[in-house]
Symmetry: C2
Subunit: 334 residues, 2 copies
Amino acid sequence: MATISDVARLAGLSVSTVSRVINKSPHVSDKKREAVESAMNELGYVPLPAARQLRGSRTNTMAVTIPRIVNPFFSYLVDAIEQELDEAGYSTLIVQTFGRAEEELTALNLLKNQQVDGVILCSLENDWSVINGYCKYGKIVLVNEYLKDVDVPIIRGDQYDGFYTATNFLFDNGYKKIAYATGRKTITIMKKESNFDADRFAGFQSSLSDHNLGFNYDWLFTNAHTAEDGKEIFKKIMTLKNKPDVVIAGSDEVAMGISQEAEKQGIKVPEQLGVLGVDDQPASANLRIPLTTIKQPVDEMGRKAARAMLGLINGEEVSKMQICKLKVIKRASA
Amino acid sequence: MATISDVARLAGLSVSTVSRVINKSPHVSDKKREAVESAMNELGYVPLPAARQLRGSRTNTMAVTIPRIVNPFFSYLVDAIEQELDEAGYSTLIVQTFGRAEEELTALNLLKNQQVDGVILCSLENDWSVINGYCKYGKIVLVNEYLKDVDVPIIRGDQYDGFYTATNFLFDNGYKKIAYATGRKTITIMKKESNFDADRFAGFQSSLSDHNLGFNYDWLFTNAHTAEDGKEIFKKIMTLKNKPDVVIAGSDEVAMGISQEAEKQGIKVPEQLGVLGVDDQPASANLRIPLTTIKQPVDEMGRKAARAMLGLINGEEVSKMQICKLKVIKRASA
DNA sequence: CTGAAAGCGCTTACAG
DNA sequence: CTGAAAGCGCTTACAG
């Protein structure tokens, strides 16, 4: 591979001059600039990033962490981020965490080791105290986090409002006995804006209160992730004496499982049991029973996260908290 | 950030010795090794990859190119590749090409610049002549390509056999007038194993011949990618005097569009019109009319590609061509 | 505008 | 087993 010295030799100039044209320094005469450029072309010269990094220059690449790329929410999120970053001339490096804290550190170490200029964390796996230690190495942006008093931009959906609105929507459509499923192992009751899941539940509760209702804890289903889990939930519902008439499923997969199993057992959706998904995955519109669902504005969130990162890099003022609205997509299942 | 010199100073040893323990050289006394290790821990030292790369050592990271991450075929393929690579201690860097040749060069330059040890190309955007120029910089593996006389491993699905079998399957189910949709702008009729699309078409043709049938070119639909395109295809079909009774849709999206539009216009699927998808996307089983589709063995292909790459890196003998079988997944739409 | 030289953080012969 | 020194390919003051 050709090096900067090869170019300098061929052009009959010093490496300093070659370096200047590489870095677009203005202090080079047109004549020599051309000489250097033609030498670079002749040799097919490309500067070695490792050497430039060693000197502390920018990498023009960004890392983004997500739990799992096969989850459409995250693949679309990454896609939006990448498009925006791409326009600014940055490459994107996608790191899957698979929910493991060490994998997140892999991405963070990219920052520490100056392999990337910044990292956008879409799935926080470590405590803030450990993330915080990496802030000195480069820029960090968080997506869908509820941390307070943290000195990095956070872009998130308004879970409280989304779930509040969605629950009202269910009441407006005549449902009264609302079950609630979540991926979490437990539900922590906290006030608004405490954390992602608590915020969702708080929005839900708040609508219940507005309708003078309390929550029936027989209708709480935790640890629900897959369509399979959804089927189990439906089976459990059928064993209940006092059955809910609709369930907020926590995700489209779970919703899909519930509605499939209901259909299989001859229970009509949405008449006998309503089902409300979350995320609006690409397939949800084309299901056997098209899913009514709460949509997160992935594209908006991704682009905002990317722009926040670019702002940070360019030393601009960027607002520490950007909140995007969720939206109920009305289809057949509720 | 702590450097190797800081560690050496703290341990009261030379940088050479520190370097030796970093690189697990056997020629270090246990005593000094421990001294170095405790110094590294105390400082939170991590070797700077850029500096190591400059000296020509391995990066332990691999790049993989795909056209678009939001396409489930590719997100699952990448997922399989990454899982396998992960077990071997490699990180994976995902590069989206968006179908652009320059983006593919981005990935290839990662190789040239020693940022990755190898690249797995799942979407060839440049001519082989240009890819070939990068072989000297590192390892390359191709997925789903039909190039001949090329000195890199290729992992692909047996498109001919898959489409041959699928077409036979349609005949077995009573269909006789088979339409064919493809994402390509044109169909090139070539013999078996010429290229990806020609191979599919050849398999299809071959089954037609077995049933003493020729292909009706009114039933060929090109440039079909999205569900929207599928809807258009259905509309075109309805204008035909001599209508097909089933269509091989080229992708699940297109199949979905065709079957949706058919339903909307009161044409019964699969009774009046059968629809066969390709890829078996996660949603296809849960569509309003569950899709019968040709499944590519993504997981197998991804893992084989990763293993071929690892074999190359380790200097093992790896077979130049690995072919995986496609499979018809029978559901409701055909 | 241009060049010689130091130095970024490592690894690796070369001596001992 | 251990260390001093050269060098990987660049950038950036410092002089001129």
